[in-house]
């Protein structure tokens, strides 16, 4: 019996290429039977279209993308209204760590070498996952795969707003057991897109007056370079990989659109980044895979420098500081299979350090240990899993000043998780999970000069969720060429001890406090129909998704209102058609009314919007090589919209590109 091999993404329409001539079976395919399916997934051609990882995940159910606009604008995700810091972002199973503010910028991640992006509510149920993952409220996984064949891929693309991207990717099989992938990619944009301010307001005596002006976003340019190399080893019962990655960028921040006296620019802020990481893992199985062990490790050095350039913008507060994060991470995961039982034990150790030349900075370091045990019992048609994680974090910093006292610098929490799944009538499944997870206070929360509060407790997120799903089967039969799948899920979440910024006894001095409380009731509906095998050369698929989120602030003075930036209703509809090497893709999404503050009154409304993107691809095989031509027309109807208030998003824009693979 196949357990919910979901085909959420129409990416399955194009199958994988031939594999390297090795004996091994990738670890991922072995655990499929044991793994709960992701709540959303994108892979293959649908993923290749996306300019960045942020683009790829925006249609996921329950996920809110916060986007400040343009290629260089910060892009973070918030799943089920819990806040972006509760989302664990994993690259090949290892968390992308951001100790300063725990906001992972998805705009930095390239989709090129990715095989899949998938979102798991609660947690992924991989018995060999890291201990840390048992502590995320939800997990967004970016997965790359070992090279399948000897291949060189080159691509260039360009389009609106001075955007250009070019890259090379080389995959080599080095004998039966070793393979190598290396890639480099350069991206630039001017980011000088036009936006329109217009509207109607009530004037004197109730008449309507109109203003309408078109402006250009300035200081939104970006240059970035990504480079990586990764070596893979694969043999029977053993596999490993080790890779080095670099990301560097230089960009402007255009800032919010506010009224500004004509002579002065809105912003001259610039940021430089250099991030280098070394990441590896080793998987070892013995006794016919009864026992498995995975070792993972990572070293990273992440440097950011932010300058406001007051010599160019006299309105700017002078600021020129760097922040440098150093991190080391080691994880050991073990798994023991005993018939219907599957036992996991995982231990991680992580070290973080933050340096800065900012005034009176206390240079914090943190040592965190994660210890988790998980048990899965899976008799036929039923599966129960439970896990418990203990997280312990101890901080050190240079000196006591202001609110930084040495009391309460260590934090210890337990995160339990339970999931039940039941399959019935062959095609249906019921599942439910409950989880309590925490997010540790970030270095910014604790030690930001003049604002930090070293005695914060971790923020507490509790989730209860239940789903019913239907899947018609993963193999099309001659008499039934289509596959149908549907899912309905309802959940209740509660966030306690939410870390918020509040003024102290002196209102000129703010601090971070455990003060907030939010109740979230949500529902997700999803349906998909796919014809995976061509009928008269044509195959197609349609997916519809709807998300309802009622996220109510329980914090006075505005208790009872929807929390900022969470729409009550949102949804997407996408369709894909393929025919003789052509592929056309249409996605429309709707984001309902939101509020920019904790008060749900018309003064603070952020307008609802709908957005449509069209993508077209053509593959041509020419003498052993393959050309792929791509065209993306984004925001087809030129919707004017803002995801974050006062950060206008680009109107209609076009990107075209070609990829050569041989």
């Amino acid at each position: 019996m196949s357990l919910l091999l979901s085909v959420f993404s129409a990416g399955l329409l194009i199958g994988p290429g031939p594999v390297c001539d090795t004996l091994s079976i990738p670890a991922a395919s072995i655990v499929v039977r044991k793994e709960a399916p992701p709540s959303a997934r994108v892979s293959g051609a649908a993923l290749a279209f996306c300019a960045s990882a942020a683009d790829a995940v925006r249609t996921f159910t329950g996920l809110q993308l916060k986007d400040y606009g343009g290629v260089g604008g910060l892009k973070t995700v918030n799943v089920r209204s819990l806040g972006s810091q509760h989302v664990g972002v994993y690259l090949d199973g290892i968390a992308i760590d951001q100790a300063q503010n725990m906001q992972v910028d998805l705009g930095r991640l390239s989709t090129w070498s990715l095989r899949e992006i998938s979102l798991y509510n609660g947690q992924k149920n991989d018995p060999l996952q890291t201990a840390k993952e048992y502590g995320s409220a939800s997990a967004l996984h970016f997965t790359t795969a070992a090279p399948g064949e000897n291949r060189l891929r080159a691509r260039v693309s360009g389009g609106s707003f001075g955007s250009f991207s070019g890259g090379l990717l080389l995959e080599r099989c080095l004998g039966d057991q070793w393979s190598l992938r290396t890639s480099a990619e350069y991206t630039r944009t001017d980011g000088n897109y036009r936006y329109r301010l217009s509207g109607y307001r009530t004037g004197e005596e109730g008449e309507w007056k109109r203003f309408d002006s078109t402006l250009v976003r300035e200081n939104g340019d970006l240059h970035s370079l990504k480079a990586d190399a990764e070596l893979f080893y694969s043999a029977a019962f053993r596999e490993g990989r080790i890779g080095v990655r670099y990301y560097g960028s230089e960009r402007g921040f255009p800032g919010p659109v506010v009224r500004r006296a004509d002579p002065f620019p809105l912003s001259a802020d610039r940021q430089k980044d250099h991030a280098l990481s070394l990441q590896g893992q080793w998987n070892f199985a013995t006794f016919g895979r009864i026992y498995e062990l995975t070792l993972r490790g990572k070293l990273s050095d992440d440097y950011t420098r932010y300058e406001t350039h007051p010599e160019r913008n006299p309105m700017a507060l002078p600021y020129d500081n760097y922040y440098r994060q150093l991190a080391g991470y080691l994880s050991v995961s073990q798994r023991l299979r005993l018939g219907e039982f599957d036992l996991s034990l995982a231990t991680d150790v992580q070290y973080n350090r933050l340096d800065s030349d900012a005034g009176q900075f206390v240079r914090p370091t943190r040592l965190t240990t994660y210890t988790a045990a998980a048990l899965t019992w899976s008799p036929d048609s039923f599966r129960a899993s439970a896990s418990l994680l203990h997280t312990f974090a101890a901080d050190r910093f240079d000196r006591e000043a202001g609110g930084f006292t040495r009391e309460n610098t260590s934090r210890s929490v337990f995160s339990p998780f339970v999931r039940l799944e039941y399959l019935f009538r062959k095609h249906f499944s019921l599942s439910a999970f409950a989880k309590r997870s925490y997010r540790m206070p970030t270095f910014n929360d604790l030690y930001y000069t003049f604002m930090g509060n070293a005695s914060l407790r971790p923020e507490d997120a509790r989730q209860v969720s239940a789903a019913v799903s239907y899947h018609s089967g993963d193999r099309a039969r001659p008499d039934r060429p289509w596959q149908v799948q549907a899912r309905a899920e309802a959940y209740h979440n509660r966030v306690l001890d939410k870390i918020v910024a509040l003024p102290t006894a002196s209102q000129f001095r703010w601090t971070m406090l455990n003060f907030g409380k939010v109740d979230i009731d949500g529902a997700e509906l999803e349906g998909e129909i796919v014809i995976p095998r061509p009928v008269r050369g044509i195959s197609w698929g349609v997916t519809a998704r709807y998300t309802y989120q009622r996220a109510i602030n329980r914090l006075e003075p505005y208790a009872g209102n929807q929390i900022p930036y969470i729409p009550l209703h949102s949804g997407t509809v996408s369709a894909v058609v393929t025919w003789k090497g052509w592929r056309a893709d249409w996605t429309s999404s709707f984001t309902g009314l939101r509020y920019s503050t904790a008060v749900s009154t018309p003064d603070y409304e952020v307008a609802p919007f709908s957005l449509s993107d069209f993508r077209l691809e053509k593959r041509l095989s020419v003498r052993g090589g393959e050309y792929t031509f791509r065209l993306s027309l984004n925001n087809v109807f030129g919707s004017r919209y803002e995801v974050v208030q006062h950060y206008p998003m680009p109107g209609r824009h076009l990107i075209t590109g070609v990829e050569l693979s041989f």
Binding site: F211, V258, R259, P310, S506
Partner: protein
């Protein structure tokens, strides 16, 4: 700050408000005022000497949501967001971070810090009259034919469209006071004062400017607040004297009788906030206004009324847990402190403004959502009304 001559202070204003308001505040719709005797003949008389109290809601930096509210005395209505409603053709409205407001000659001048401008509107109907571009302006005062505005200035050398910046000095420049002709709305010049000047006041031909150093304190190498009052002679428009007070100055008030009061915010770690005073005749002898022993003033909430300065404070500004604090109000006259014993329960004071025997106290709530404005009658020690305002109601002005 303009000294308001309040002719019919307490009684008439209280009457005007009481006559037009319900228990929960000024009425919010016209129908509330409907009365069966409204058609009876009579003669219109002026109640009090004011027409409106304007409330400038600061808004949030980067959120473009400064708004102008007013309380109209003729019908007791509190009107929200008047400026943006009355000027619908202005695409981005009032801008953000309203930092000061003042009225002169039927014009209301609004100092909008992060937008880099002073917006001048007609006090009768809040219609736009002029925009004066000033880099990071902070506070305003009128004297004679001129307006004086403190500005952090960002090392702007030449002013105007073709402005230039002293690049070498741009990381930690001193602030200036701009001089503006009230009638023509033209900038006439500026004079350099201390670091990040905030409040200013006029007494006897001199301008007293409170320098904060709020930005300098974050910058290498000194990481130090400014602690001085700059005295500028209005006749020569030159800096004549610098008075050392205490770190991080905020507001400055003149009692009109030769005493200059200065509030300081302290350094937030070991120097407390406080109220200081010095004599205009002998500015070098600065003293802290004592009177309540160990209790530190929170110098951020203060108002002047004629010869009296009101200061609201609590027991400490060093409490990092921000639990609820009891707030006190002290009135200071000729160096003597009186505890006014105002019942501020339910209010976390953000700003204060004195009107006759009434005191307006605002509450910024969570600083991003709507705040509130409450009026107290000091003579009766009673809360008169509370009304919802815009985001961070922080500055007030009377049109009389």
């Amino acid at each position: 700050m303009k000294k308001y001559t309040l002719l019919f202070v307490s009684g008439l204003v209280a009457l005007a408000i009481a006559a037009c308001s319900k228990d929960d505040g000024p009425s919010k719709s016209g129908t509330d005022n409907a009365s069966t005797d409204e058609n009876l003949a009579g003669e219109t008389v002026t109640v009090g000497d004011y027409k409106k109290i304007f409330v400038l809601n600061e808004g949030q930096m980067g959120a473009n949501n400064a708004t102008l509210d007013f309380l109209r005395f003729s019908d007791g209505k509190y009107v929200w967001n008047a400026y943006n409603q009355m000027n619908p053709e202005l695409p981005l409205g009032l801008g953000d971070v309203g930092n000061d407001i003042a009225v002169t000659g039927g014009e209301v001048w609004m100092v909008i810090n992060n937008s880099g401008l002073i917006e001048v509107a007609d006090a009768r109907n809040e219609r736009h009259i002029a925009t004066i571009e000033i880099p990071t302006p902070r506070s305003i005062v009128f004297e004679g034919k001129y307006a004086y505005v403190t500005s952090w200035n960002g090392a702007v050398l030449a002013y105007g469209d073709g402005y230039s910046v002293d690049a070498a000095n741009s990381k930690n420049p001193k602030g200036v006071v701009y001089k503006i002709d009230i009638k023509s709305h033209k900038v006439l010049g500026n004079v350099e004062v201390g670091y990040q000047p905030e409040g200013l006041a006029v007494y006897n031909g001199n301008l007293y400017v409170a320098n904060s150093g709020g930005i300098s304190s974050q910058l290498a190498p000194a990481y130090a607040y400014d602690y001085t009052v700059s005295i500028v002679s209005l006749s020569s428009f030159k800096l004549t004297e610098t008075v050392e007070v205490a770190p991080n100055l905020k507001s400055v008030f003149s009692d009109g009788k030769g005493t200059i009061y200065v509030t300081t915010l302290g350094n937030y770690s070991n120097v407390h906030s406080g109220l200081y005073a010095f004599s205009a005749a002998a500015p070098k002898s600065v003293s802290r206004v004592q009177g309540t022993g160990a209790i530190a003033y929170n110098g951020s909430v203060a108002a002047v009324n004629g010869t009296k300065v009101y200061v609201l404070g609590n027991d400490t500004e060093f409490d990092w847990n921000a639990k609820t604090h009891d707030w006190y109000i002290w009135s200071v006259e000729e160096g003597t402190v009186t505890d006014e014993k105002l019942d501020l329960s339910g209010i976390n004071p953000y700003a204060a403004f004195s009107v006759g025997s009434q005191l307006i106290v605002s509450d910024a709530k969570d600083y991003v959502g709507p705040g509130s404005v409450t009026m107290f009658d000091l003579t009766r020690n009673a809360k008169l009304w509370t009304v919802t305002a815009g985001v961070c109601p922080g500055h007030f002005a009377i049109w009389n």
